[in-house]
């Protein structure tokens, strides 16, 4: 194991975050805080409680998940796409680095950034709404699993993307709608029955449901289903990344 290479990639990627602190951390935290103000305080004060939890409190796990998903995909996809775009990928490909080590460095850094961001948003939420986490272990488990899984997914998008437009297409046209429709701002039980069935095909529903359960013990689907879907998506992403490095898809000529 070339652990020095993993460390080098990880620190290199993290350094980019600290260099672009406004864009990487401050901006998403500010955006999420605005959601708290608008949906939690302004509109939320006129909405009745959902399953015994005030609306402002109810949306906290969904908003954290919204940031985790978008930031994980964005960080990881940019992390691998930019070396491809600038040509510096030659160095990674010519170094004695296995696919596992490269992924560990890039995805590890992207996931770390998302987790840090998630925790900052959680701390920020405490300033706006009363909050309690009933199952901290499961909260952290879902946080880490989701960050890692979607960082892997972002890595795949970054490898696949041939230009900056393609880099943005999946996050904007797939991830964002799935997240907004995945129960970030509501329980799917509030939907008409037919749409509840449709919503169950949205994998993000399971992530948000499991994460919300770890806070308030209220969920749209069972904890087992949430965990199973998350692990299943993680396995698919890992298999895809393995295939990418084995074949050199869009990395090697």
């Amino acid at each position: 194991m070339n652990h020095r290479a993993v460390r080098a990639i990880y620190l290199f990627e993290m350094a980019r975050t600290w260099r672009t602190l406004l864009q990487s951390v401050v901006s998403p935290v500010l955006s999420t805080s605005l959601y708290f103000v608008v949906f939690g305080a302004a509109i939320g004060s006129r909405i009745t409680q959902i399953e015994g939890v005030s609306y402002g409190t109810f949306i906290v796990p969904g908003l954290i998940m919204l940031s985790i998903l978008t930031q994980s995909v964005s960080n990881a996809s940019f992390g691998i796409y930019f070396p491809k775009f600038s040509g510096t990928i030659y160095e990674l490909l010519s170094a004695p680095v296995s696919f596992f080590e490269a992924v560990l460095g890039y995805v590890g850094a992207a996931a770390s950034k998302s987790i840090i961001l998630g925790l900052i948003i959680l701390a920020t939420a405490w300033l706006f709404v009363p909050l309690h986490v009933m199952h901290p272990f499961w909260m952290l488990t879902f946080l880490v699993l989701t960050a890692v899984t979607f960082s892997l997914f972002g890595f795949i998008i970054g490898v696949w993307a041939g230009n900056f437009e393609q880099l943005q297409v999946i996050p904007l046209l797939v991830i964002a709608p799935l997240t907004f429709l995945g129960g970030s701002f509501y329980s799917i039980n509030m939907l008409p029955e037919a749409w509840q069935t449709v919503a169950l095909f949205n994998p993000v529903v399971y992530l948000i449901s499991g994460f919300r359960w770890s806070f308030y013990e209220i969920s749209d689907v069972s904890l087992g289903a949430s965990l199973g879907i998350t692990l299943g998506f993680l396995a698919i992403c890992m298999a895809t990344v393995w295939w990418i490095f084995k074949t050199g898809y869009r990395l090697k000529n």
Partner: protein, 306 residues
Amino acid sequence: MPPIISISHLSKTYGSGLKALNDVSLDIDRGEIFALLGPNGAGKTTLISIICGIANPSAGQVLVDGHDNVADYRAARSMIGLVPQELHTDAFETVWATVSYSRGLFGKKANPAYIEKVLRDLSLWDRKDSRIITLSGGMKRRVMIAKALSHEPQILFLDEPTAGVDVELRKGMWEVVRALRATGVTIILTTHYIEEAEEMADRIGVINKGEIILVEQKAALMQKLGKKQLKLHLLGTVEAIPPQLADYNLALSEGGSQLIYTYDSKAERTGITGLLAALREAGIRFHDLDTTQSSLEDIFVSLVRA
């Protein structure tokens, strides 16, 4: 001593159907400077990319110090440093950070003293804290070399290392390359500057249309293929070569004011004495003469056109 790089029957066909390499076999000796010459699109960069692990071969094998560069890629790649043709750098990193990153990527323990030496040797020490985007093209090229040297490679690939670099800097780089060779580093360079190969290389390989068409010691190549010419600057002009000089390999140039005799300088008899006597008999007089030897560029052009 076994070659440090052994390439056997290497072929590469791209997805587009372009055959970039066709059954290339080549050995690179330990400690030499090998210049790979070839016109644009000849397959130089593809060959380097495959050896370094950037591109996959369609067929064939590359051994680096006995290590298969696919099956035993860690051992093979650890020995190689690559300076690519294009200036691929991280624009917003500092020189120090990017060179240190390269060392880490190759699994080497941090060694600030060594990185400092590399940067000093390449006259980059004063700019170690500068962001790469602020550097000139020549400095960026040196950063690329510093990155390639950061992990103390035993083999260094320089793909067009002095492209777009001014003459002074180019000569400075030659000094760096020579100094590296003196420490035992094997250097493989591709170049469009024939004078660079002529100046630096121990051996020359010529690649054209994906095939190695010649590999030879530079000195032997110059000797084998190099022609020497005697130029006679005539007093007045002649319209045609007189019949009594037909046995000599002569050509007229400069509107008949110059007579060029091409001969083999290594032959037992060059024919110069006889030619001068024959000229006197023919009444052709000259006021000056000089001799020139064909350059590597002449040899290269004649090989590629053949």
